[in-house]
Symmetry: none
DNA sequence: TATGAATGAGAGTTCATTCAT
DNA sequence: TATGAATGAACTCTCATTCAT
């Protein structure tokens, strides 16, 4: 979360950043209602009015975090899209790369990810949107002949996003593998399944 | 949700059931904090003290619903466990049956499922527990030679539970397939993957 | 407290008496506000509406108990008044008799005494009234030459009533002497003091 | 009770003190339950949340007052203890001094005294404790030969504390003598009694 | 840039009491 | 004589938010 030293008379941006980072952690760990403005400012070592110097209100701060998450997520989603006409040989590798990016993001910003995927009221919408984007990609690839035609890609997309959610929700507890390893295993699962060949 | 007619001087059990069913819906749709005791009783056509006639407090009612969900979920989990030594031919069928039960439950009780999987503070714990049970089963089967040994069953379990969560979260929006069809497709995905054979 | 067996379909007077005796105990031990109508009826094995069959409301019941105490107290006060022109030789004996009656009453009806002397809002008034009656008596006797003229009988009366209050408040805890012994010791104290002669 | 001017934006300590002093009066005059937070703050000219700025809750404020009373009372009790080996000539004077302190305290802080001796649920305990301390002192003196051996000092202690209670309960009504005069009269009563010599 | 002090608005909960049977 | 079911009227407490400095 970066350094969070508190200095008296610190510059405004510093106070703002401090509040933002503390709020991220609190919202992620306790949820929206359980996170009180009073406890955020207490941890930041400032008073309540100071909070309103930097944020319109509690909800505005929260939405700022959600927005931040969405834009980061959107970046990684863009990067993960498969360009049309990609060589069949590379497809597994490209998918793995895309997934790796997601995992890396979730590992680097676990609290933000938690907010966007779990605590935000829009979490459902965010995940739906991500699912739709993944789904569009999958269908395109399916029609391009990369994947079996007798598979419901909606289920695949749901499973992938659901798996991400579980990853975000449980990563504090589990000692995680490296993102690229993880991505590789996930891709193998979804490409080939677990049945004995 | 059953009949929810309101009668003056109705029997106690009726009032209790009415409050319970309204609360289930409210909690599922609005979340814990956004659901006010005042609005539950208003929809039930009774006054606030009546609420406290049947429930110790708001939280006790909520926990009762969570408990109800957990015990139903536990039932279906038991039923879905594969008995050891099952013939390899039947295994896919049995897995599909188990999954079908879960889907049926989620479809029949969408609000309760939403509470247990999404809105309860214990939701993470509930899903973790379910994941662990599924994982234990998968590992046993893997070691019995039904599944490939080079697959991380933890990822499989996470993906399955994540997929269930997505199903619960999105089923209001999506016009769903029948549970047995759904289960079959999911099983095919996880057994064989989406790669062209 | 008498026998408090509860019979189904008991006669009305029985229910009333039961409620009355339970209420006496509860009020004495817990105070007015801490004693809930709901707990009285629960201990009596009846329902709340039954309570209102016999008492106009909670306060009316309480006042009935206070009234009962006052009239009993009044009886003993009357009996303790010294008739004018009593022989000096008998005076100590008569005072002791009077006090003995009070102690006996407090021992026999500890809960009622507690209500009248400690928990009733009118407790102050009740004790004031008793003080005044005792004071009038003391002054009459003082003027009749039985007691020293240089003593403030107001202080004597206050000390006597205060001592009674302490007796009522503490008798559950202390293993008490017999009322006549107690009365004799109190009389000796107030007549002769504790100074070495 | 001090000055109770109300200023907008007054210093925090001022508001706290104001609330404290109003609460003392209210609790003393109306009792715990009859004293509403709403009426305390109304008299103080502030709103309800302000109350919770300075006190954890209604009960905490009340307990603070009880604690204050106990510690003051304890001070005066310490000061009133007779040092061992005191000359017989001085003993009456010392006892009178001690009692004077108590009376002065009760006169100066009538509401606080009322709370500690009458309205607090611990009032019984407080008086019991005071009684015990006085009793221990009396017994020591009795054994040192200052007082008659055939007197039950328990009764003396009860009567003294009972008398204090009556004093506190009635002083609003009675136009009181000066504390030293009062103390002197009480001491004379308990030392020599009211019987004609 | 910051704060000490205060508040509007509302939530959950309790309790004595009553209606209809 | 009794009750199952329900309620009016409070009351305590919390929290995000703001004013004056």
């Amino acid at each position: 979360m970066g350094q969070r030293g508190r200095k008296k008379g610190a510059s405004g941006e510093q106070s703002r950043g401090l509040l933002l980072s503390i709020a991220t952690e609190e919202f992620a760990l306790r949820g929206y209602h359980e996170t009180k403005v009073s406890s955020i400012v207490e941890k930041a070592g400032v008073t309540q009015p100071t909070f309103y110097l930097y944020f319109e209100n509690k909800d505005a701060l929260f939405q700022e975090l959600v927005h931040l998450f969405r834009s980061r997520l959107s970046d990684y989603t863009q990067k993960s899209l498969l360009e049309p006409g990609i060589a069949k040989t590379f497809i597994r590798q490209r998918i793995t790369e895309g997934l790796t990016n997601f995992f890396r993001f979730f590992i680097e910003e676990p609290h933000l990810a938690s907010i966007g995927f779990l605590v935000a009221p829009q979490a459902a919408e965010i995940k739906d949107q991500l699912t739709d984007q993944i789904l569009a990609n999958l269908i395109a690839e399916q029609q391009a002949g990369y994947f079996r035609k007798d598979m419901d890609m909606g289920i695949v997309a749901d499973s992938l996003v659901g798996m991400m959610e579980r990853f975000i929700a449980t990563q504090k507890a589990r000692t995680s593998k490296k993102p690229e390893v993880l991505a590789d295993e996930v891709v193998r699962l979804f490409l080939y399944g677990i049945a004995e060949p």
